[in-house]
């Protein structure tokens, strides 16, 4: 039975909110790298919409994280003034974009998780969390429709597009398990009824992903999905440091300036 949400360890809640916010921040950052370089104008515009949605989610999640922390940090402070070891996103979202097929595949694998997660969070015991989830869910539902549709089309398109999508799937697969490996933070949130148990999300994710992959004529990789974990605890890939070097440059070079 859910405990009173106000009884939950605030440090754990802060960490968990950073996970939500950092996933959106880093994936949004990666997606925004496409701006002006998309494979066709319509896709360029669609990718920018996705990135804009994710930046919006970041502002909400990290904004709440700052409130919960109670140390006066804003969403911008959290985004621009933490170092890699304080970031709580999964490794999946920080990997480089690769080609457009990899970008779409990674988005799809994350969207399926994101969609199920937000769907469950709409019923969170913490009203603030439920409110953010309800706002974000509408956008993520569209993102998932779009990315799963593109996975199906490219998987079942030409021989080349099929092979590229299969290769993309193999590439990201060992990173997907991290989304479902629960640690003390996840368990505390589940116990408080703030967030769902990750095992529930995992089984729904499995269904969504395997249905789409089958329609896309793609084959689920045999290997372990949880090879690369640790991002949620602040142990990242080498790639995150470069993202932060770029993203945080102005805030770091001109401390205290207003923009």
């Amino acid at each position: 039975m859910a405990l009173d949400a106000t009884q939950v360890d605030q440090k754990a809640l802060f960490d968990w909110l950073c996970r939500m916010g950092d996933n959106a921040l880093i994936l949004g950052h990666r997606t925004s790298e496409w701006c002006g370089h998309g494979p066709v104008l319509e896709e360029d515009i669609a990718l920018a919409n996705t990135a804009l949605d994710l930046i919006g989610h970041t502002q909400m999640w990290l904004g709440l994280a700052g409130e919960v922390e109670g140390a006066g940090r804003t969403a911008d402070n959290l985004a621009y003034l933490r170092d890699a070891m304080q970031f709580r996103n999964v490794k999946l979202v920080e990997l480089p974009n690769g080609d457009i097929g990899q970008t779409i595949m990674r988005e799809f694998l994350f969207d399926a998780f994101h969609f199920e997660m937000l769907t469950a969070l709409v019923a969170s015991a913490d009203a603030r969390v439920a409110e953010i989830a309800a706002k974000a869910l509408k956008e993520v539902a569209y993102q998932f429709d779009r990315s799963s549709d593109l996975v199906v089309r490219l998987g079942d398109g030409t021989a080349e597009s099929h092979d590229r999508m299969q290769a993309a799937l193999e590439h990201f697969w060992p990173y997907t398990g991290e989304m479902f490996v629960a640690d003390a933070v996840d368990e505390a949130m589940a116990q408080a009824g703030i967030a769902p148990a990750l095992s529930e999300i995992e089984s729904r994710w499995d269904t969504l992903v395997s249905e789409t992959l089958a329609e896309a004529t793609l084959v689920c990789p045999e290997r372990r999905a949880d090879v690369h974990t640790g991002g949620k605890q602040g142990r990242h890939t080498e790639h995150l440091g470069y993202i932060l070097a770029e993203m945080q440059f102005l805030q770091r070079a001109y401390p205290g300036a207003e923009w």
Binding site: L41, E42, I45, A46, Y142, R146, D149, R153
Partner: protein, 95 residues
């Protein structure tokens, strides 16, 4: 160059406040479903719409410009279709 260019679609959007679908522009897409997604991303960035129609541009049949006279001029002589044609005395009130 790609083997085949994506076909062109004409996009019609019904705005927030009812009224009819209105032509807003065109875009390229490989099929109708994707044309709808593209239309959502391209033409409703500022909350312009609640419903989208897409039609292949090649399926639009337009009236010929040289027929403009015969098609539209006859309406000019049907002045009795407009309410101002009829004089109603002021005493009758608003009608």
């Amino acid at each position: 160059m790609s083997k085949k260019e994506w076909p062109l679609w004409e996009i019609f959007i019904r705005g927030q406040h009812g009224l009819n679908h209105r032509h807003v522009g065109s875009l390229h897409a490989p099929d109708a479903e994707m044309a709808i997604n593209h239309a959502r991303d391209v033409y409703t960035r500022r909350k312009e719409g609640v419903s989208i129609w897409v039609v292949p541009s090649s399926e639009i049949t337009a009236s010929s410009p040289s027929d403009k006279g015969p098609l539209f001029d006859p309406a000019e002589s049907k002045v009795y279709r407009h309410p101002t044609f009829f004089d109603i005395p002021d005493e009758v009130g608003h009608m």
